[in-house]
C-alpha cells in the first residue's frame, strides 16, 4: 500500500495521529516556554497556547482514531447484516421449495464474529 492509498483509506487515523503528535509537540513547547520564565504573566500565554491548545489537539486526534474504530465496526455490521439477510432468504427459499444454498459455515463464522463484536462493545 502506497502512502497516497494509505491517506485515502485511513485518512481519519492519519489525521488523528498527526493531530495527536502536534498536540504533544504543543504541550512540550508550552512547558519549555513556561519553564524559562519566572513571571506568571509570561507563563500564562504558554499555558494557554501550549497547554490548552495541545490538550485540545490531542483530544481531537484521539477522537478521530476512536471514530475510525467505530466506523470499522459499523462496516463489519453492514457485512454481517447482509450475510444474515442472505441466509434468511435462503431459509425462506427452502420453506417455499425453491433451491437455495444456505451458507451454514458462513453463518457460524458470522455468529462467532458477532460474539467478538459484542465483547468489544461491552
Amino acid at each position: 500500500m502506497t502512502f497516497s492509498q494509505l491517506l485515502r483509506a485511513q485518512w481519519d487515523r492519519v489525521l488523528g495521529v498527526v493531530m495527536s503528535i502536534a498536540g504533544v509537540g504543543a504541550l512540550v513547547i508550552g512547558w519549555l516556554g513556561a519553564s524559562r520564565s519566572g513571571f506568571p504573566a509570561e507563563q500564562i500565554p504558554y499555558i494557554l497556547s501550549g497547554g490548552l491548545l495541545g490538550l485540545c489537539l490531542v483530544a481531537i486526534g484521539t477522537t478521530l482514531w476512536l471514530s475510525a474504530d467505530l466506523r470499522d465496526e459499523w462496516r463489519k455490521l453492514d457485512d454481517l447484516d447482509e450475510r444474515l439477510e442472505e441466509n434468511t432468504a435462503a431459509l425462506k427459499g427452502r420453506e417455499t421449495g425453491e433451491t437455495a444454498d444456505l451458507r451454514t459455515s458462513s453463518l457460524e463464522g458470522d455468529l462467532a464474529h458477532l460474539a467478538q463484536v459484542q465483547q468489544v462493545a461491552r
Binding site: 504573566a41 497556547s49 491548545l53 477522537t63 467505530l70 444456505l102
Partner: protein, 153 residues
C-alpha cells in the same frame, strides 16, 4: 402492520452530528487561540485571569463535544449489534416485513411442528424445510415443548 424504516446511514453518526462536532471543535480551538492572543497582550497576571477562563471554556467545549460524539457513535454501534442479534436489523425492516409471525408487542412468535419436542425462532436452521406453526411461548410450553438450545427463542 409493516413498518418501513429509514435506510441506515453509512456510518454511526448522522450529518447533523458531524456538522455539530466539527463546529464545536473549531469554535473551541478558536476560543483557546483567542484567549492566548488576549493573554499575550497583557502584562499583568490579574488581567489575564479572564483570558484563562475563556481558554478553559474553549477546551471544555472541545472535550464535551468529542466525548458526546464518541458516546453517540458507541451507542449507535451497540444498538445496531442488538438489531443484528435479534434478527431485526433496521435494514431488514420489521419482523413482520420479513414474513415471520409476531405478537402484539412486535416480538417474534416461536415456531414448532406438532411432533417437535422443542420450539424455535422462525429463522432457526433446525426448522429449515419443516412445516412449522407459529404460536406463543405459553402454548408451546403447554404442549410440553422446551426452548431450543441452539437458537434460544
Amino acid at each position: 402492520m409493516i413498518v418501513v424504516l429509514d435506510p441506515l446511514p453509512a456510518e454511526p453518526w448522522g450529518r447533523q452530528q458531524v456538522v455539530g462536532v466539527a463546529c464545536a471543535d473549531v469554535i473551541g480551538v478558536l476560543t483557546v487561540l483567542a484567549s492566548w492572543y488576549g493573554a499575550s497582550g497583557s502584562g499583568r497576571s490579574s488581567a489575564q485571569t479572564n483570558w484563562i477562563t475563556l481558554g478553559v471554556a474553549g477546551a471544555v467545549l472541545v472535550a464535551a463535544a468529542n466525548g458526546l460524539w464518541l458516546l453517540a457513535g458507541r451507542r449507535a454501534v451497540v444498538r445496531r449489534i442488538g438489531g443484528v442479534v435479534d434478527g431485526t436489523a433496521p435494514r431488514l425492516g420489521s419482523t413482520e416485513a420479513r414474513g415471520f409471525a409476531v405478537d402484539a408487542g412486535e416480538r417474534l412468535l416461536p415456531v414448532a411442528t406438532d411432533s417437535m419436542r422443542w420450539y424455535h425462532r422462525p429463522d432457526c436452521p433446525l426448522t429449515a424445510g419443516k412445516r412449522v406453526t407459529p404460536s406463543t411461548v405459553e402454548s408451546h410450553t403447554g404442549a410440553g415443548r422446551a426452548a431450543c438450545g441452539v437458537c434460544a427463542p
